[in-house]
């Protein structure tokens, strides 16, 4: 499987044909928690290999020892940014196993928390993307600062900034506190003003476009064939979003459009993420205005009604799939998670085969797909 890893390992090594392989490794300012091995001759890149596994924690095995309410706590630490969207997949699968439908108020609360997490994850990913294109970290710090009001709202509702542990099979753990509606509406107004500032300073900035336009063009048929996920798929012109194709929570009752773009290059992927923030702000406003009254939890029956269940949810990086197989006890027998970033890494590896990439383009190319090693490693 490892094409270029040799023993003893060297940082830069000559391969035949005048090429050498470069190790953008775990100790590098832009690599994240994984390794990229790049076969290059100094200017052009002929092959990229991704080496993951540095942050494998064995979450699928851990879940075999926890019952379905305890399982929420380790599972959401799988990806730190986007926790509640990942939990949605698991909670939907368990509810299908037990044959339970959550009450409508719980669905709306789940949607609000999901969309807030999606906004916060997109802001962070866009900041990292700008930094990989060579910005001194002004934009990154602004997006990190702008996540603070969102995290404060999440702390007011759930008690923690990102490790909410708030969704349980059957509903949510507690109701919304008083005074949250004005706070959410104020924060959404604040975010819209900041998005205008970002448009002026960054999205339409000439140097940013020069750096990312035309880099890593992913054609539409190849995007479907190789299995790209999330905004990377939608930026190549494919109209696919789990929130519309197989709606869950409160999405059937809310009214929104998904954002696509036809160019398929790195700039388009960043632009699609930016526009999705606006769609999420609109969704949060609709959900908080139309939230119905009622209970927020429903008890699970003592035994599951089905043996296996498959469910999916749309995280900020793409679609995540959960498969649970149970033998009738209160702990699952096997949980299989198929995250979105794992598929995006495969697409990154195939990129040098269809077009010419320069060495200086490798960081924007990687970060335009928004790959998160924690997500791929589970």
């Amino acid at each position: 499987m490892h094409r270029y890893l040799t023993d003893p390992f060297q940082e830069i090594e000559e391969v035949e044909g005048g090429l050498f392989k470069l190790n953008i490794g775990p100790q590098h300012p832009i690599s994240g928690q994984g390794r990229f091995i790049v076969l290059t001759d100094g200017e052009l890149v002929y092959d990229i290999e991704v080496d993951i596994g540095y942050s494998h924690r064995g979450i699928e095995k851990i879940l075999e020892y926890k019952n379905y309410i305890q399982a929420v706590v380790p599972l959401e630490r799988m990806v730190m940014l986007d926790t509640s969207n990942i939990l949605m997949g698991f909670v939907r699968a368990v509810e299908e196993l037990y044959g339970v439908e959550p009450p409508p108020r719980a669905n709306y609360i789940r949607t609000i928390i999901n969309e807030l997490n999606r906004i916060s994850s997109h802001l962070y990913a866009l900041g990292l993307y700008a930094e990989s294109a060579g910005w001194n970290p002004a934009v990154f710090i602004w997006t990190t600062v702008d996540r603070e009001p969102i995290l404060d709202i999440l702390e007011m509702i759930t008690g923690a900034r990102w490790s909410h542990s708030f969704f349980i099979p059957g509903g949510v753990r507690a109701d919304l506190p008083n005074g949250i509606k004005e706070r959410i509406l104020d924060t959404m107004d604040f975010l819209e003003r900041r998005l205008e500032v970002y448009e002026d300073a960054w999205i339409y900035n000439e140097t940013f476009r020069m750096r990312t336009e035309g880099v890593g063009v992913l054609p539409r048929d190849k995007a479907i064939e190789w299995g790209a996920a999330g905004p990377s798929l939608r930026a190549s012109g494919v109209k696919y979003d789990t929130r519309l194709n197989e709606p869950y929570s409160a999405y059937p009752e809310l009214d929104f459009k998904i954002v696509t773009h036809t160019a398929g290059d790195a700039y388009a992927r960043g632009w699609v993420r930016f526009e999705e923030i606006k769609v999420s702000i609109d969704l949060v406003r609709q959900a908080i205005e139309n939230i119905p009254k009622g209970p927020v939890k429903k008890a699970l029956p003592p035994r599951p009604v089905k043996q296996e269940a498959l469910a999916r949810a749309e995280t900020a990086r793409g679609e995540i799939n959960f498969y649970i197989y149970t033998e009738g006890r209160d702990k699952p027998y096997r949980v299989k998670i198929s995250p979105a970033s794992f598929r995006n890494f495969f697409v990154i590896e195939q990129m040098p085969k269809i077009q010419e990439i320069k060495l200086a383009d490798v960081p924007p190319l990687i970060y335009s797909f928004d790959p998160w090693f924690l997500d791929a490693d589970r």
């Binding site: 929420v72 706590v73 008690g159 490790s163 104020d186 604040f190 476009r209």
Partner: protein, 158 residues
């Protein structure tokens, strides 16, 4: 995708960045100032010994196996002892307790230079943490408010 002219693509970023010099900074000087938590913020767990009946439900539900029931001198029940090195502050034990004997404080500055100090035995868990002992130089406490113009922090002397 909007179409923007040459000036607004090249010169406007510079002007927009320069406008940020007029905003107030959003960082604060810890440990002289501290953000206080909200009512639901999860932090250190405090035990009310008179309410506890020693049922062990908190130990059953804890996902990190951090709670053990230990005997206390002078009483004939066992009470929970929490190992804060394993605790992930999820709050399931607080929610499941049938007598509401556990509650959470919004203090998370639990640090020590010794592993054994962080396993809190039931006697220690009954005393809530005093933020003034943990941070002796603390002067102000901040509450964040998000307005349409930006983040504002309301200061209070401690």
């Amino acid at each position: 995708m909007k179409k923007k002219g040459f000036i607004s693509r090249v010169v406007t970023p510079f002007v927009t960045v320069l406008k940020h010099a007029a905003y107030k900074p959003v960082t604060h000087k810890y440990p002289y100032e501290r953000l206080e938590g909200f009512p639901r913020t999860r932090g250190r767990i405090v035990l009310k010994m008179d309410e506890c009946i020693g049922c062990g439900a908190c130990g059953y539900i804890c996902p990190d196996f951090a709670i053990m029931m230990k005997p206390v001198e002078g009483k004939d029940l066992t009470y929970p002892a929490i190992d804060f090195l394993k605790c992930s502050f999820c709050g399931l034990c607080v929610e499941i307790c049938p007598r509401d004997a556990l509650e959470m404080q919004s203090v998370v500055e639990l640090g020590s230079s010794n592993y054994r100090d962080l396993t809190y035995y039931p006697e220690r868990m009954t005393e809530p943490e005093d933020i003034k002992k943990l941070l002796p130089e603390l002067k102000y406490v901040l509450t964040p408010v998000a307005t349409k113009e930006g983040m504002k922090y309301i200061r209070r002397r401690v």
